[in-house]
C-alpha cells in the first residue's frame, strides 16, 4: 500500500530548481527518510534540473518533467527535458567534464548524482532531449499504514 507516484511539469526557469527539490523531498518523506537521505535527494534533483535548464535548453524556457515512483522501499526519480541532448554520454559522466566552463560549471553534476543516489541512468538523443533516471533505496521497513 505504500506504492505511490507523482508527475510534475515545470518551465525551465532557474527559480524552479529550489521548487523541484522541495517537491521531490516532500514526496520522498513518505519513505520516512533520514535528514541525510533527504539532503542527498535534494542535491541530486538540483543537479539534474539545473542541467536541463542550462545544458538541455540553454536558458530557453521550455518544459521539464519530473516523475517520482515509490515501489516498495525504492524511490525512482525521472527528470526529463526535450532539449539539445548529449552527444557523448560517457564523456559527460566523467568528473570535471563540462561543456560550459564559462558559466563556472564544475563538471561534477553527474558525479554528485551518482554518489548521492544508488543508481543513475542517462538516456539522451541529440536534438530530442535527455532523460535521467535515479534510484534511491530505503532499506528499513519503517512505514506504518
Amino acid at each position: 500500500m505504500k506504492d505511490n507516484t507523482m508527475k510534475l511539469e515545470i518551465p525551465s526557469k532557474s527559480q524552479n530548481e529550489a521548487f523541484a527539490r522541495v517537491v521531490v523531498a516532500s514526496f520522498a518523506a513518505q519513505l520516512d527518510p533520514t535528514i541525510e537521505e533527504i539532503a542527498d535527494i535534494k542535491t541530486a534533483v538540483s543537479e539534474a534540473v539545473t542541467n536541463a535548464i542550462i545544458h538541455g535548453y540553454e536558458s530557453k524556457i521550455e518544459k521539464i518533467i519530473i516523475e517520482c515512483n515509490i515501489i516498495d522501499n525504492r524511490l525512482e526519480i525521472i527528470i526529463e527535458d526535450f532539449g539539445v541532448g548529449i552527444s557523448n554520454i560517457q564523456a559527460a559522466r566523467e568528473p570535471f567534464y563540462t561543456s560550459r566552463p564559462e558559466l563556472e560549471r564544475s563538471g561534477m553534476g553527474f558525479t554528485v548524482m551518482e554518489t548521492f543516489m544508488d543508481s543513475l541512468e542517462i538516456c539522451s538523443e541529440e536534438n530530442k532531449g535527455t532523460k535521467i533516471k535515479m534510484v534511491k533505496e530505503f532499506n528499513k521497513p519503517s512505514f506504518e499504514e
Partner: protein, 127 residues
Amino acid sequence: MLIENKKTSNKIGGKEVNIKFNNQKNTLFVDLNGELDHHNAKRIREKIDSEFDENGYKNISINLKGLNFMDSSGIGLIMGRYKLVNELGGRLFLTNVNFRVNKILDMSGIHKLVDIYENNEDVLKHL
C-alpha cells in the same frame, strides 16, 4: 493568537542568499546564507567579484555557516574565486564547512587548493 500575519520569508529560488562583507588584513570576508544552487550562484558571484575588484583585496575568506543547501554549483563558485585570488598571489579560505558541504567539496579535490579553517579568527591567525 498564535499565528501572526508575518512573512514566511521562505522563498523558493529567491531563498535569498544573503551576503555580508567585512574587510580585515587585506582579506575580503564573505558570509553566505541560504541555498547555493545555480539560480543563486550567479548573483553571489557578481556581488563578491565586484566587491573584490573595487576594493583591492588580496585574499577571500568565505564563511559557509549559514548555508543550508549547496550543490555542485558551489564547487564552481569556489573554484572560480580560487582562480581569482590565485592569479593575484592571494589565498582562498573557507570557514564553517558543515558535513553536507564537505561531502561535496570532497569529491572535487578543492581541499588541496583552498585553506579550510574553523572560523574567521582562525583565518586571521594564519594571515
